[in-house]
């Protein structure tokens, strides 16, 4: 029995530098960076004081006062993106039985901002270990549990099928989209609203990355701080944002005349089983994930036209990932363009994987490969074509996107141009 493939028929993105998919793509193709000094809180006293922030006004984005009151910023991002994606798909959900609509949203750190803000209130700014429940917001339980993100999206689109939040650290976004695709393939849902969100720019998150020196301390030059694959890279720049996709069975999508961006041809997850944050230099487990994903997609290395990298900009990641590309793709690794959009929109932890799927789908749709910004001095140790500084016009029929995260998670996904009725 052949599995029915999932197709992407709608995209919604909220990323630093411009809200909505159109602004997102314009940012990427222009090679502009959206990293700046942190404004969401006063970063004085922190080691890394820069981030990629979204300029987000929930009311302006259509959220009601009640929605804003009961949700964290990360849920608000997800709602806005889900709505954009559904509108983009032109899918009339009234024609789909609610039990056949699924939701799969990734998030690494859930409702961090609300949890931190409320903590300050109930603890009297950290004075009391035994915090005071009487001071808590009546919505506080919904902040403790990240599952609320999926609940909000499910309520908004009337989904009664399988709904979940996937929280696998920095691969949450890719894993949630993969999970959504699997629901389609297994026949457990006919429409899946799949994506990811994170709004981690909050003191505790910045401090925790400070403590392990994972983020760039290049506070004097925020615009150039995120420099994946560069010889002078010195850590990632924390970001925030969300992306949501509408997934449908490819055949069904074509039957209803939907616009299909691409199909999710294959994916695989593997783990380093080595260290919670450390990466080996050989990238073997990511290479294995890539190989297995390609096998499922029935693609060979020469079929890959573009690699959307994890490219977080830490010294160890870019080395690890490059080794993984070389190990899995052989000579092809040196020919295919590789770029990291984290150079422009920062690293939004669990969200970025879904944002990168959106970027990859758009690369297929528009025939343009986004650049790696800030790449003035490619690290000679790495040696691949990282598309420095400028976007490149190139038709891509198959894009590989990968993610890597704390806990050792490694995920690879192949997106391919739809056989017919798709872009181009």
């Amino acid at each position: 029995m052949s599995r029915r493939r999932a197709a992407i028929t709608g995209i919604g993105v909220l990323a630093p530098g411009g809200n909505g998919t159109k602004a997102f793509w314009a940012l990427l193709t222009s090679g502009t960076t959206a990293t700046r000094g942190i404004t969401l809180f006063d970063p004085a006293g922190f080691r890394s004081r820069i981030a990629a922030e979204c300029d987000f006004d929930p009311a302006a984005e259509g959220l009601t006062a009640d929605e804003v009151e009961r949700t964290d910023r990360c849920s608000q991002f997800a709602l806005v993106c889900a709505r954009e994606a559904l509108a983009d798909s032109k899918l009339d959900l009234d024609n789909v039985p609610p039990g056949r609509i699924g939701v799969s949203i990734g998030s690494a750190v859930g409702n961090t901002i609300t949890l931190e803000q409320q903590y300050v209130v109930v603890s009297d700014t950290g004075k009391h270990w035994v915090v005071d429940p009487a001071k808590a917001s009546r919505h506080l339980y919904r902040a403790l549990i990240p599952s609320t993100i999926a609940a909000e999206v499910a309520w908004d689109c009337g989904a009664e099928g399988p709904a979940s939040v996937i929280s696998t650290g920095c691969t949450s976004g890719l894993d949630a989209v993969a999970d959504g695709a699997e629901l389609i393939e297994d026949g457990r849902a006919d429409v899946v609203i799949a994506g990811a969100t994170d709004a981690p720019i909050s003191p505790i998150t910045v401090a925790c990355f400070d403590a392990i020196k994972a983020t760039s301390p290049n506070n004097d030059d925020p615009a150039h701080a995120s420099r994946p694959f560069d010889a002078n890279r010195d850590g990632f720049v924390l970001g925030e944002g969300a992306a949501v996709l509408v997934l449908e069975p490819a055949d069904e999508a074509r039957r209803r005349g939907a616009h299909v961006y691409c199909e999710i041809a294959g994916y695989a997850q593997r783990s380093n089983a080595y260290h919670m944050t450390g990466l080996t230099a050989d990238g073997l487990e990511m290479a294995e994930a890539i190989r297995v994903a390609m096998g499922r997609a029935r693609l060979a290395p020469e079929d890959i036209d573009y690699i959307n990298a994890h490219g977080s900009g830490t010294r160890q990641n870019d080395r690890h990932e490059t080794a993984a590309f070389k190990a899995s793709l052989g000579a092809r690794a040196y020919e295919v363009p590789v770029s990291s959009i984290k150079s422009m929109v920062g690293h939004s932890l669990g969200a970025i994987g879904a944002i990168e799927v959106a970027a990859s789908a758009l690369a297929i749709e528009h025939g343009v490969v986004p650049p790696t910004a800030n790449l003035y001095q490619p690290d000679p140790e790495l040696g691949l074509d990282y598309v420095p500084l400028q976007a490149r016009e190139q038709r891509s029929d198959a894009v590989l996107t990968v993610g890597s995260g704390f806990g050792g998670f490694q995920t690879a996904m192949l997106l391919t141009r739809s056989r017919s009725g798709g872009a181009g």
Binding site: A211, H275, M276
Partner: protein
């Protein structure tokens, strides 16, 4: 501010226990400054924690790359450098 800027072996051993959860005999540290932290079971995160504890306790700022801090001798060299002129936190 402590009188000296170099933690004793006993202090280091204590830090490794509380911060990294690794029990190391101070005598062992004394005898084998070239033993690697990896061999001692202190991983990179634990070491970062120890460095941060030293920074806090001695009011210094350590800028060295964690990759350059493989042994106790490395650590002591790094601390000495950080505590030297210009190494104090303003």
């Amino acid at each position: 501010m402590p009188a000296t800027t170099m933690p004793t072996r006993a202090e280091l051993s204590e830090m490794m226990k509380t911060v990294a959860g690794v029990e190391i005999d101070p005598g062992e540290l004394q005898q084998e400054p070239q033993v690697t932290f990896e061999e001692l079971g202190v991983d990179s995160l634990g070491l970062l924690g120890v460095l941060a504890a030293i920074e806090r306790q001695y009011g210094i700022e350590i800028h060295a790359d964690i990759d350059d801090c493989r042994t106790l001798a490395d650590l002591e060299a790094i601390i000495r450098q950080a505590a030297g002129p210009g190494g104090r936190r303003s």
